[in-house]
């Protein structure tokens, strides 16, 4: 089977910082693939190499079978990039931005204008078409940015942190866009720092940390690495958290997964019936449990189990 994207041993350093330290990826054509990692993990660097913007120091990468170094031009005809920061011109209007991209793809002025208005319409931006992009809200900016990536339909679409900084409504809109784009057959590689985003959108995902893929698989597979199921507790009082953790450790042997939320405790269960024993022990010791649930571990917990630090609060790596 042809892979939309294949990388082998990608290495890239910026001065003393090793941004990528041997990244191997294999992405099925037509799938949505998530690259999950904290700040400075190497997500953007990976995407920029795949979009032909950066040369790796070592290793190789192909997009739809074309080497990104030797066949850069062919690759550029098949991919679109929506970068982490606005890859549209804020001093131009929405229409002008899309016409600009259309012209640079080779459309005639007339076709570029027609394509621009089709895109603005489908993205719900017709009313804002004549306004400068700098007056757009965060969600509108993201949409015009993604629209610019669809002026010519790419076979592979790179979305670098498409929902960072968006409110829940705009985030939902971007999610729907990604699903609809994938449904049309375009392979989507997206990066994210949000666990639930990767979980919801991606068929498979790679967890990346310090330039290395530390886990790869479907989100179900990744969750299975941490334990069969997890007990999520929300405590009524933050000052009882430590006591709760001690009690849980006593009942389960081990299994408390450290977290950063002061009123939340998560424990790994060998089987779901252990939950009852834990709850009994807690109530006998008058620990106030406000809420509990038994289910899959979240991807945040996966990350914690894999790296020993939370994805939301990364250990700063040197110069990042």
């Amino acid at each position: 089977m042809l892979h939309a994207i294949e990388t082998t041993g990608l290495i890239k350093s910026f001065g003393a910082t090793r941004a990528l330290d041997g990244v191997n990826l294999r992405i099925r054509q037509g799938s949505v693939y998530g690259l999950l990692g904290p700040n400075g993990a190497g997500k953007t660097t990976t995407i920029r190499i795949l979009a032909t913007l950066l040369k790796p120091d070592a290793g190789s990468a192909t997009v739809l079978g074309h080497d990104v170094g030797r066949n850069a031009r062919t690759v550029r005809e098949k991919v679109s990039l929506t970068g982490q920061y606005a890859s549209v011109d804020e001093d131009l209007t929405g229409t002008e931005n899309l016409v600009l991209v259309g012209r640079l793809l080779g459309f005639s002025w007339r076709d570029a204008r027609r394509r621009a208005s089709e895109l603005l319409d489908a993205f719900g931006l017709t009313e804002a078409a004549g306004r400068l992009v700098q007056t757009y809200s965060g969600g509108m900016r993201r949409r015009i940015d993604i629209a610019a990536s669809l002026v010519a339909i790419p076979e592979v679409l790179f979305l670098d942190e498409p929902t960072t900084g968006l409110d829940p409504r705009s985030r939902n809109q971007v999610w729907e866009l990604v699903r609809r784009i994938a449904a049309e057959g375009t392979t989507v590689l997206l990066t994210t720092q949000y666990m639930d985003e990767a979980d919801r959108l991606a068929e498979r995902l790679a967890v990346i940390d310090h330039g290395r893929v530390i886990a790869e698989g479907t989100s179900r597979e990744l969750k299975a690495m941490v334990g069969a199921s997890a007990l999520h507790l929300r405590l009524g009082r933050a000052d009882q958290r430590e006591r709760a953790q001690v009690l849980i450790a006593r009942v389960l042997g081990d299994g408390v997964i450290p977290g950063t939320d002061p009123t939340a405790v998560t424990a790994r269960l060998a089987n779901p019936s252990q939950a009852a024993a834990v709850l009994t022990a807690l109530s006998q010791d008058s620990v106030d449990v406000a809420e509990f649930s038994v289910g899959n571990p979240t991807l945040d917990e996966v990350f914690f189990a894999l790296t020993g630090h939370s994805a939301e609060h990364p250990v700063e790596n040197g110069q990042s």
Partner: protein, 275 residues
């Protein structure tokens, strides 16, 4: 996908269905399109032009009315001398925007999109330069209009003025290449501005834009007389007033050629090399 949170979500399908990818554009068409973009920016954000023209206008007014009498006998006499030089200074200052614009585009991520498109790769640089030439022309026209209002009367007529402006454009085009290099080297548009002005301030003030060379001490004449901006100011004055031009024009063209020949390959190389 039962309910759509996008206003026209179902049209996404039509976008894919209606689409036909065109052949990549020619180099010329890509450069033209990017020059169009640069002109749109001037239209939408004209402040950039005003920013840099306010100072020269102040200089013109101050120098003309305060020193004009002392330097040339009367303000009206002095502006005949000063205005061509002020035009030179204004346009030379504006060249910095080439570097600042490039720096902004790189750091905002816009160049990532440009470079991931299947077009001739140097097009964004050349398009920006083409747009900048337009910007320089607009600024020149503004300064000339103000000069005419204040009593500037070029004896060389339209032809002389146009030739002078053309020479200023040639030199400014060459200088822009330097700021392209600076724009790729430093981190923020502000540092592009600061770095460039470290060169531009001495370049424009240690010239004969404001006072005649022969009023300066001997040693200073040696320095100022070799400044390409002095040659450019001299040539502009001579052309605008219809006087015979000396070697100044040749010096300016030579200096421009040297700058372009040295700076443009470096700039192109840095640009092609990924960041």
């Amino acid at each position: 996908m039962t309910t759509s949170v996008l206003p026209n979500g179902e049209r996404i399908h039509e976008l894919f269905a209606m689409h036909r990818r065109p052949n990549p554009p020619s180099a010329l068409s890509a450069v033209g399109t990017l020059a169009w973009r640069a002109m749109l920016k001037i239209k939408h954000v004209p402040f950039q032009l005003f920013d840099v023209t306010v100072m020269p206008i102040m200089f013109t007014l101050l120098f003309t009315y305060i020193f004009g009498g002392a330097l040339e006998g009367s303000p009206r006499q002095y502006i005949q001398y000063l205005l061509p030089g002020i035009l030179v200074q204004t346009v030379v200052f504006i060249t910095v925007y080439t570097g600042m614009g490039l720096n902004t585009d790189i750091h905002k991520g816009l160049f990532d999109r440009f470079r991931s498109l299947p077009m001739w790769q140097p097009a964004p640089l050349l398009g920006a330069l083409a747009g900048d030439l337009f910007r320089y022309s607009v600024a020149s026209a503004m300064i000339l209009v103000i000069g005419l209002i204040l009593g500037f009367r070029p004896q060389g007529g339209i032809v002389g003025v146009l030739l002078a402006v053309a020479l200023v454009l040639v030199f400014s085009f060459a200088l822009s290449w330097l700021w392209i290099i600076v724009g790729m080297l430093v981190r923020t548009p502000e540092s592009v501005m600061t770095t460039s002005f470290i060169f531009l301030m001495p370049l424009t003030f240690a010239s004969d834009i404001f006072v005649r060379l022969d009023t300066m001490p001997r040693w200073l004449q040696e320095v100022v007389g070799r400044n390409p901006v002095t040659h450019l100011a001299n040539a502009s004055r001579d052309l605008m007033h219809g006087e015979p031009v000396g070697n100044d024009v040749l010096w300016v063209l030579l200096a421009s050629a040297v700058i372009v020949l040295v700076a443009s390959p470096i700039a192109m190389r840095m640009y092609r090399k990924e960041r």
